[in-house]
């Protein structure tokens, strides 16, 4: 392993390069600009292409175009650019094209505050395009090291599932400096549980099988296979059709290739859940690091508190919330997004609470205060909107 001290932006760049990325198209935006800058330096060194697009809409379309030519493509952005992906994201979902999208979440809505962390795109990452009839794969790193690992993983999942994969980071993960261990040998790489899935070429004529199977080679143009891909509802050959039967098959595949193979995607950390804790703290990304500390501290003082850190966000891991318990969901937003899914998934009789803030992390002491209030059945003390019974 090569140990370096660097940012999440650098980790994402190195992960992409290690995964075989050979096309990056992006548009500068704080706090994801450094990813573009790093890619502009690293890609030519490995024979890859860096393009500065005219906007984010173009960026992801350029990636899609490269991907249907057989390149491994990635783009990176933050909220105001992420929203502009709607068009190209839908195209990639429906045409089943592998591509990796990094979003370093900042404070919104709109331009908001550029250099501070937010978690406002939990649902947007699930529904980044219109029309429904699809599932989405979203991974959420909480550290520099994990940003590397999940970027590599995103490329592998994109290839295997033939779909865009979103790495939903936050400003603290991408801008933060930490020790990063980069595997130097294939063995070290494999020891991290990582793989590189090469680009495969679908030989046709069936480009869009009406099944939930994964590892179907993607549509690649330029090999005279009669490949056809489009924004229209496809037949199995990729021709446009208005026939609702094909639409049902297509939608069924887009949903079930992901949910029926979700064991390859699902990932979470669970802390101190073995003794049926009274309170379970839930989060993802940088706030989950405070959760982890708070849970450890609570245990030291004998409190039955556990924690869940979601590493894959979508498809949502409802099975993690089958315990009847008191859940406290901690997020970097004031409106509560993840908490809504937890509320939906939580076993009957559970209590689900929300701890929200934006632009800065909660402190461990603040979370422990709330835990004590909940344990003592005290009415939750509201400081601003910090604590809510959801």
């Amino acid at each position: 392993m090569k140990r370096i001290f660097d940012t999440g932006n650098a980790a994402i760049t190195e992960g992409a390069i290690r995964a075989g990325c050979n096309l990056f198209a992006g548009y500068p935006i704080t706090p994801a600009t450094e990813i573009a800058e790093n890619m502009s330096r690293r890609l030519p060194q490995v024979g890859g292409y860096y393009l500065q697009a005219e906007d984010e809409n173009a960026a992801l379309h350029i990636c899609n175009g490269g991907s249907i030519g057989g390149l491994k493509a990635m783009t990176a952005t933050s909220g105001p650019g992420f929203i502009l992906f709607a068009d190209a994201f839908g195209w990639a979902v429906s045409s089943e094209v592998p591509v990796v999208i990094v979003n370093s979440q900042r404070v919104g809505p709109v331009s908001g505050i550029t250099g501070a962390p937010g978690q406002g795109e939990f649902y947007l990452s699930r529904y980044l395009t219109h029309g429904g009839n699809y599932e989405t794969i979203v991974l959420a790193p909480a550290s520099v090291q994990e940003a590397y690992r999940l970027t590599v993983r995103a490329f592998a999942l994109a290839e295997r599932f033939r779909t865009p994969v979103i790495v939903l980071a936050d400003q603290m993960v991408t801008d933060g400096w930490e020790t990063l261990e980069l595997p130097e040998t294939d063995d070290e790489f494999a020891a991290l549980g990582l793989e590189v899935v090469p680009r495969r070429i679908n030989p046709g004529p069936e480009f869009y099988p009406a099944s939930d199977e994964i590892d179907v080679p993607p549509v690649v143009l330029g090999h005279n296979t009669g490949a056809a891909c489009s924004d229209w509802t496809p037949t199995d050959r990729g021709h446009d059709t208005e026939d609702i039967t094909w639409q049902h098959k297509h939608a069924w595949r887009l949903i079930h290739k992901i949910v029926n193979n979700r064991q390859l995607i699902d990932e979470a950390d669970e802390w101190f859940l073995d003794d049926d804790p009274e309170i379970i703290l839930v989060g993802y990304g940088t706030p989950s690091r405070v959760i982890r500390s708070a849970v450890g501290e609570a245990r030291k003082s004998g409190l039955k508190v556990g924690g869940i850190r979601l590493i894959s966000l979508w498809p949502f891991q409802s099975h993690l919330f089958t315990r009847t318990a008191c859940y406290l969901v901690v997020e970097l937003n004031w409106d509560g997004q993840l908490v809504r899914e937890v509320e939906r998934a939580a076993a009957d009789g559970s209590n689900v609470h929300f701890w929200g803030r934006c632009g800065e992390l909660p402190s461990m002491a603040e979370l422990l205060d709330t835990v004590r209030q909940l344990l003592d059945n005290e009415p939750l003390q509201r400081d601003g909107w910090r604590t809510e019974k959801w």
Binding site: L23, A25, R41, R42, L43, P44, Q45, G47, G48, Y49, L51, A53, E54, D55, N57, A58, H61, I62, C63, N64, G65, G66, S67, I68, G69, G70, L71, A73, D87, A88, G90, W91, S95, L221, G222, H223, N224, T225, G226, A227, A228, C229, S230, D231, W232, G238, H239, D240
Partner: protein, 282 residues
């Protein structure tokens, strides 16, 4: 034509679903003729399409590899795809006037700026016809459409001294031409030059929409009358008055005058890999 269709068009997409009498079929045939006269086979061309009548009628007609983009974005897609394709592979996009000149214009300009090797064939039916006939930036001033019941009055990009192709010339395009489909073999000759150019080419190919433009703007359901109007309005003098005529011909031929984008990128990458001065190290 039947030979061309057999060679180049997927049987299940023939005869297609364009309205009876639609000039789009002539435009489509012009492109196939150019390909045929250049002796290109299905494996030599990747064919992309946009949204609108042009896209809907031509997507997946090509027997070789084919794709359709979201509305106006196919130029950005083609930019990425170009980097993946071997330089000799021809990339042809058949798109509409709305797709190219309005919703996709930003991407079109940037494809021209980069001189990305692609041939954009704008099947120009003088407005938004697949949505029932609304005016666009090539609709002649004064035309009645469903969204200009009192006559189109917004400035357009083909009259009043404007020419959208001149904007593309300034943006860096290396081949530009305009024709109507009523000019026999002339458009085919321009299309051949466009496809042969290793850079950004665009051919605006004006054709009659009989169902909407004919009925709304020309107030006739008679197909022959519609075609006569287009024929009379076609001038092969580029300097003719564009307020009254479709001025046609090769607007700009600078083939080979600028580096092609994908070639330039590959050269740049190779220079960095050799430790070139622009590359830096890691």
């Amino acid at each position: 034509m039947s030979d061309l269709l057999e060679t180049y068009v997927r049987p299940e997409k023939n005869p297609g679903t364009a309205c009876k009498g639609c000039g789009l079929r002539l435009a489509h045939r012009n492109v196939l003729e150019a390909i045929d006269e250049l002796k290109l086979s299905t494996g030599d061309v990747v064919w992309g399409t946009g949204i609108g009548c042009s896209g809907r009628q031509t997507f997946a007609t090509w027997r070789g590899d084919t794709f359709a983009g979201t509305h106006g974005r196919v130029y950005a897609m083609a930019t990425g795809l170009r980097l993946a394709l071997p330089p000799e592979k021809r990339l042809i996009l058949t798109v509409g006037d709305g797709d190219a000149f309005t919703i996709g214009f930003l991407h079109l300009l940037n494809a021209a700026r980069r001189n990305v090797d692609m041939t954009v064939v704008v099947f120009d039916n003088l407005g938004y016809q697949s949505t029932g006939g609304q005016y666009g930036v090539t609709t002649p001033l004064g035309s009645r459409t469903d969204s200009s019941p009192y006559g189109a009055w917004e400035p357009n990009w083909t009259q009043g001294g404007f020419d959208v192709l001149r904007i593309l010339k300034e943006a860096g395009a290396t081949f530009l031409a305009r024709h109507t489909v009523l000019q026999g073999h002339e458009p085919v000759e321009s299309l051949k030059k466009a496809i042969g150019n290793r850079g950004f080419s665009l051919v605006q190919l004006i054709y009659p929409c009989v169902t909407h433009f004919g009925v709304q703007a020309l107030e006739t359901r008679n197909i022959a009358t519609v075609y006569d109007w287009f024929r009379e309005r076609t001038s092969d003098d580029l300097a003719a008055d564009s307020n009254t005529h479709f001025t046609t011909g090769i607007v700009h031929d600078a083939a080979g005058s600028r580096p092609e984008f994908s070639v330039a990128v590959r050269d740049f990458v190779a220079s960095v890999q050799k430790g070139g001065s622009r590359g830096g190290t890691n």
